[in-house]
Amino acid sequence: MNGHAANGSAVEQVNGHAAEVAAVEQAFRPAPFNVAAVRRDFPILQQQIYGKPLVYLDNAATAQKPTSVIDAISNYYLADNANIHRGVHLLSERATAAYEGAREAVRRFLNAAESREIVFVRGTTEAVNLVAHSYARPALKPDDEIVVSVMEHHSNFVPWKMACEATGARLRVVPITDAGELRMDEYERLLCDRTRLVALGHVSNALGTVNPVADIVRLAHARGIPVLLDGAQAVPHMAVDVGALDCDFYAFSGHKLFGPTGIGVLYGKAALMDHMPPWQGGGDMISSVTLEEVRYNTLPAKFEAGTPDIAGAIGLAAAIEYLNGLDRVAAAAHEAALTRYLEERLSGFPDVTLVGRAPGKAGIVSFVMSSAHPHDIGTVLDHEGVAIRTGHHCCQPLMHRLGVPATARVSFAFYNTREEVDRFVDALARVREMFG
């Protein structure tokens, strides 16, 4: 599909010198994304829902898993299962090597400096809570401030609200434009000598807006303020380089990255995490325990009390390996083409209003329909085999700002097709038939 668009621009350039340029570009252009091939890697997609082929457009809630991820988890339990970091036996050594290998895979994926900067957690929610508990709370004093935005997912909002309530600090909220973009002027205005932390989403799960994270980090660092980025919706769509971004913390969930549920990642700069107190006590997070004294382990074990989700980490590493085998630039171009195509087709529905119109959105199309409530849209679509998300998307402050109780949301992954967009649009026509 993106090959189509690419050919178009090549044709325009075919005259004289431009033809040469086009030929050179052609040689370096990634091959068009092969959707049919990747779909074969996701067996769950080949099923019928109410007698119709499944069209899965709820990828921002959770993504489907390729066979290689499912096999990695199952093989671990079939062949290598043991507890880690404690056995002298071979199985334990294999499990430990696989678990620590997964940490190294995540480090490379994010381009972090050291693997001890990668902490395995349950998901984005737990990662944010860890930082709120171990970094923010000990540092916050009355009248200190934490900067978030009005488009945050509740998991990057409530933990900060709780930290503020416990310490007397204040939450400052960056507003957005009507198109759903961060007001960067307001962001800059909010940064001051009382700001202890900036916590912002990289990509909005409700709007698809990609926030200018490099600028966000630069402006905060210019004032000595650390930055946490919620990358839950970013990593599935783009390469993220925490080294280049220079952010202080970065959080994401495995299940949205084509990996299993129950595993997620907190990246944190060692310079900060070394000084943070642990937040859960137990096995593995200690170096020695006597009746009088507990000495904490070093990073990352200090933040991984108890037996972790070993199989989950191994599954996540398999998901990363799968993504590494894809042409991610072509995949992103394919998703962008699907997003454009859907928005183009929705413009033929006068009763549909898009919610979030930032340029360069990451695979998300949120909308409301004057004739039907999102909940009814969701139910009718489900009966056409089309799975979407409806509701407030865990973004109630954002819904309030936009003046809607809820939206219907389509969210793409690279395995979605143009035909699926057509199926979705046909199903939406059914909704209008019924309620219009």
Binding site: A372, H373, P374, D376, T379, T390, G391, P405
Partner: protein, 149 residues
């Protein structure tokens, strides 16, 4: 089984498009707000009760087709009934949309049985019962807010 037409019956679509008893109620002496956090729906039920009888009832607010139609049909069903009868209908309605009811109860529910299909749609049960919970709260006490959570 869970055919869409069983959920969105004609009567439901009709009450959704042209809700009855929709708007404020000047004589109301009991009011309650209901909220379904799952879909953001909010509605208000106004009731005018005298001598244990519901003389007037109305509702306001925005919601999905199921919650709006349910509120509309509910107001039709309880108007003129005693508070005790309304509470019994609430109980029967709740049973119908969760576990199902026998024929005798179906007869007692009358027109409200158009919502029996909701049982096949677990995610929509709260939509159908929001107005009833809100009516119940209104009857129990004055001016309170309820939530389906």
């Amino acid at each position: 089984m869970s055919d869409l037409r069983e959920l969105y019956q004609e009567v439901i679509l009709d009450h959704h498009k042209r809700p009855r008893n929709f708007g404020p109620l000047a004589a109301a002496n009991h009011n309650a707000d209901g909220h379904n956090p799952l879909c953001g729906d909010r509605l208000t039920v106004h009731v005018d009760v005298a001598d244990g009888v519901i003389r007037g009832v109305s509702f306001e607010g925005a919601g999905c087709a199921i919650s709006r139609a349910s509120a509309s049909l509910m107001t039709d069903a309880v108007k003129g009934k005693s508070v005790a009868e309304a509470e019994r209908l609430f109980e029967e309605f709740r049973q119908m949309v969760t576990s199902g009811v026998d024929q005798a109860v179906e007869e007692s529910l009358g027109k409200l049985t158009v919502f029996c299909g909701v049982r096949e749609f677990p995610s929509r049960v709260k939509c159908a019962s929001l107005s009833w919970h809100t009516l119940h709260a209104a009857l129990e006490s004055k001016d309170t807010a309820v939530s389906t959570e």
